[in-house]
Symmetry: C2
C-alpha cells in the first residue's frame, strides 16, 4: 500500500501531559463555577494593572492616524514628543506592511536603552512577543543539536524542541524528555545552573527564571559563556523579566558578559515590563558575530534568522510597535518603573505571608514570582489542588509543571490587584498547614 499522509508524531510525545497553564485554568474555572467570587488567582503570570494613559494615548493617536494618508504637518509634529516619535516612525499616517524585522525607530530605541547602542539595527528583530521567538529560534539549528535547559524552566523551551523532533519520549516518572539536558536549579546550588558536564549545542538560560523568580549571577553567566565559546555552542538568553532585577550581582543582559556576542542570542519582551501581555510585543538579538561550526560570513545565525523571519513572519503589528515607542520614551520608562515597583511590592507581601507559614521562600526579590518550598513530602499538584479547592482558595501553579526539579514547590505570581493580594495574605495569615 502506498504511503499516506501522517501527522507530526512528535506531538504524540505530549499525550497525557496537558499544557500546564491550561490545566490550572480549567481547575480554577470549575471551582469558580461552583463558588463564584471566592477564588484569588495567583496562578498565571499575566499583567492585571491597566496601562498608563501615557502609553494608550500613543495607541489611540496612532489608531486614528491610520485613517489619514498624510502625516502631521510641521507645526503639529513639534507639538509633542509623542507626535515627533510617531512621525519619525511613520506611524502618523496610514501604513501597510512594515519591515519584517520591525520598525527602525523602535529597534534603535531598544538598542540604545537595553544595549547601550552596541548592535547594528540588523542584529535586532522586533517580534510579536517572546513566546513566539522562544519557540521559533530553534529553527536556526540543525535537527541533531543537543539542547540544554534549566530545570525548572519556562515550558516553551522544552515544548518547541519536542515539536521539532529533538527529543525522545517523556520519562513517565519524571516527565523529562529523552535527549534533552536538564540543568537543575535548586536551593542546593543557589539556583545557579551548573555548566553541563557533557557536550551541548544549544542552551536556554532564563534570568530571572520563570518559575523560580531567581536570577543568574554574572559569575554563573560567565562560566556558561566560557563553556559555550569553548564548545561553539549557542546560548539563548531569555530576559523577559530583566527590569525586575535589583541585585548588582545579577546579569541583566547576557551581553554584559565578555564573549557573549560570539555565542549568545537574547530574547526580550514588553509583556512584563509594561503590562503588555495582551499586546504581543518583544524582540530578539541575533548578533552577526555568532560563531558555530559551519558559520561563515554569508551563512550564519543572523542571516538565517533574517531569512526565517522574512519567509515565515510579517512583522509585529505597526500599531503595537507604536505602543512600544511609548514604553521606550522617557515618560514611558518612568511609568513602567512605577508598574514594576507595584508588582514587586505584591511579591514582597506574598513572600512575607508564605514565610509566616513557616515555609522556605525563594525568588520574589528580583522577579514577580515567589517560589515556595512545600513541607517535606508534599507534592506540587496535590498541594496546589488543595490550595485551590480546600483552603485558602488561592490559585497557584504546581512547580512540577515546570520540570522535575520543581516537584515539592509551588509558584505564586505577583501579578494581581493590591486588594486581592491583601485578601490573599489575610487568608494565608489564618491558614494552618496540614
Amino acid at each position: 500500500m502506498e504511503k499516506m499522509v501522517k501527522l507530526n508524531s512528535n506531538f504524540r510525545k505530549f499525550e497525557g501531559r496537558p499544557y500546564l497553564f491550561a490545566g490550572v485554568a480549567n481547575k480554577a474555572k470549575e471551582f469558580n463555577k461552583a463558588h463564584p467570587g471566592v477564588l484569588i488567582r495567583l496562578g498565571i503570570g499575566d499583567a492585571t494593572e491597566s496601562i498608563h494613559p501615557l502609553i494608550t494615548s500613543y495607541l489611540a493617536e496612532a489608531s486614528l492616524r491610520l485613517s489619514h494618508l498624510d502625516g502631521y504637518d510641521k507645526e503639529e509634529m513639534k507639538s509633542s514628543e509623542m507626535k515627533k516619535a510617531l512621525h519619525e516612525a511613520g506611524f502618523d499616517k496610514f501604513n501597510g506592511y512594515g519591515d519584517e524585522q520591525g520598525n527602525e525607530l523602535l529597534r534603535k530605541r531598544i538598542n540604545e536603552i537595553k544595549y547601550g547602542g552596541r548592535f547594528s539595527l540588523d542584529e535586532i528583530f522586533i517580534s510579536d512577543g517572546a513566546k513566539c521567538d522562544t519557540a521559533n529560534i530553534q529553527q536556526i539549528f540543525s535537527q541533531d543539536a543537543i539542547v540544554a535547559l534549566q530545570n525548572p524552566a519556562y515550558p516553551v523551551y522544552e515544548g518547541s524542541n519536542v515539536i521539532a523532533g529533538r527529543t525522545g519520549k517523556a520519562n513517565p516518572a519524571t516527565g523529562e524528555f529523552d535527549g534533552l539536558v536538564y540543568m537543575p536549579c535548586t536551593p542546593a546550588n543557589d539556583f545557579q545552573p551548573s555548566v553541563p558536564n557533557r557536550r551541548i549545542d544549544i542552551e536556554y538560560l532564563g534570568s530571572p527564571n520563570n518559575p523560580t523568580g531567581t536570577t543568574i549571577w554574572r559569575s554563573t553567566a560567565q562560566a556558561h559563556v566560557d563553556n559555550a565559546l569553548a564548545q561553539k555552542a549557542i546560548i539563548v538568553s531569555d530576559c523577559a523579566y530583566e527590569r525586575y532585577i535589583k541585585d548588582e550581582r545579577d546579569m541583566h543582559s547576557i551581553y554584559e558578559i565578555p564573549g557573549a556576542e560570539k555565542c549568545a542570542i537574547e530574547i526580550g519582551s514588553f509583556s512584563k515590563e509594561a503590562g503588555f501581555t495582551g499586546m504581543r510585543l518583544g524582540w530578539c538579538v541575533v548578533p552577526k558575530t555568532l560563531q558555530t561550526e559551519d558559520s561563515d560570513d554569508k551563512f550564519n545565525a543572523n542571516w538565517i534568522w533574517n531569512k526565517r523571519q522574512t519567509t515565515e513572519f510579517n512583522g509585529a503589528a505597526n500599531l503595537i510597535q507604536a505602543a512600544g515607542l511609548a514604553v521606550m520614551s522617557p515618560g514611558g520608562q518612568r511609568v513602567t518603573q512605577g508598574l514594576i515597583n507595584f508588582y514587586m511590592e505584591n511579591a514582597r507581601l506574598e513572600r512575607e505571608a508564605m514565610k509566616s507559614l513557616g515555609l522556605k521562600v525563594y525568588g520574589g526579590k528580583s522577579a514577580p514570582y515567589v517560589w515556595v518550598r512545600l513541607p517535606e513530602g508534599r507534592k506540587s499538584v496535590e498541594f496546589a489542588d488543595a490550595f485551590l479547592n480546600e483552603e485558602p482558595h488561592i490559585v497557584c501553579t504546581p512547580g512540577s509543571g515546570f520540570g522535575s526539579a520543581g516537584e515539592g514547590y509551588i509558584r505564586l505570581s505577583a501579578y494581581g490587584h493590591r486588594e486581592n493580594i491583601l485578601r490573599a495574605t489575610e487568608r494565608l495569615g489564618k491558614l494552618v498547614l496540614k
Copy 2:
C-alpha cells in the same frame, strides 16, 4: 572530534535565491535614490488606502479602554454597536493574555460571516496574519510528507517546506526544489491546477491565486477534494483574496465543496479585504473531522494545531482583534466592500492599459493582481528591470519569482492611489514595447 553545533542546513538551499519581494524593493530603492519622485510602484501587494474611521474608531476606543480596569456601565454599553461589541469581547477594559485561539466573539463572527456558522468555535483559530499560518501549518504533518503547490504560487508555501526539510536542492535552471510537486497554472489549462498524477500528502491551493490573480473553479476544487479524500491527503486552502471574487463559477471557500470538511484546512486574512497589511490579523480553520492515515478521536490535525498554537503562539494582539470585530460588523463589511471595489477599478485600469500594448492579460477580474504575458522570448526579470529603470519607470514583479511557470510574465499589483494608477496608465499609453 566531537560534534559541534551546526546551523539548519536547509537554509543553504536558499543561497543565491534572494526573497523575491526584498529583491524588487532593493532595486526600486536604488533607482529612487538616483531619481526621486519618478517611480510608480505596482510591485508589492500592499494596501495603500487609509482605513475607514468606522474601523479606526474601534481601535482608538479599545486603546483608551486599556487604561481602565472597569468596563462600560450599562448605559454606556447600549450607546453604540461598537461599545456593545467591545464589551462582549472584553475589550472595554484592560486585558492581558487572550486565548491563544483568539477572541471568542471574533471567532463567532468569522464563523457566521465566512462559514454560515457551520464550525464549532474550537475549529477556528485567530492568527497574526495568513503568512504566519501558511508557514506554520506544515508543522502538523510528518517530515516525509509529499507537498504539492501551484506553479506559480505565493512563495511561503515553498519556503516554509524548504526550511522544514521536506525538499532537496533547487534546480539551478528552473528554481524548483527537488521533492516538491508543482502544479502548473497557465493559460493552457485556464490556470486550473490538474490533480497530480502521483501520490501527494499536502496540497496548497490558493484562490484567487497570488500572483496570477486567477481563481479556482468549483469543478476544479471538487476534483482536488475527491482526490484528497481518496488519498487521505490534506488540502491547505489559502483564501486571503476571497472577497475579490466576482464569478459564480469560482469557489470562495473550500468548504463549499462537498467532502472538504474531511480533507481541507483553510487560511484567511484581514489584510487584503480590510487594508490590514500592517495590522497582522488572519484566521485558520482546522476541522475536527479531518482524516489522515493515523488520526483518531484524540490525535488529529485539530488537536495538533491547538497544541502547536498553545505551545508556540500567544494569540494575536487583542487590540488588533478589536479592529477585526469592526470589520466583521455590518458597517465594517460595507466600508471594506467600498475598498475592494476601489482596488478592483484600479485592476481594470491596469488590465486595459496592458491590453492596449498588445499584451495578453490574465487575472485582475476577481483579484487585485494583473498577470501579464510578455512578448515572445522576453524574460521576467530582464523585462521588469527595464520596466523600472528604462521605461515607463514602473515597479512590477517578475513572474519567475513565483515559480518556473511564471517565467515570461510580470505581475502588476492593483494596490495604489488612483492618481498613481492613472499616471501609470498614461505612461503605458505612450510606451512602445521594444
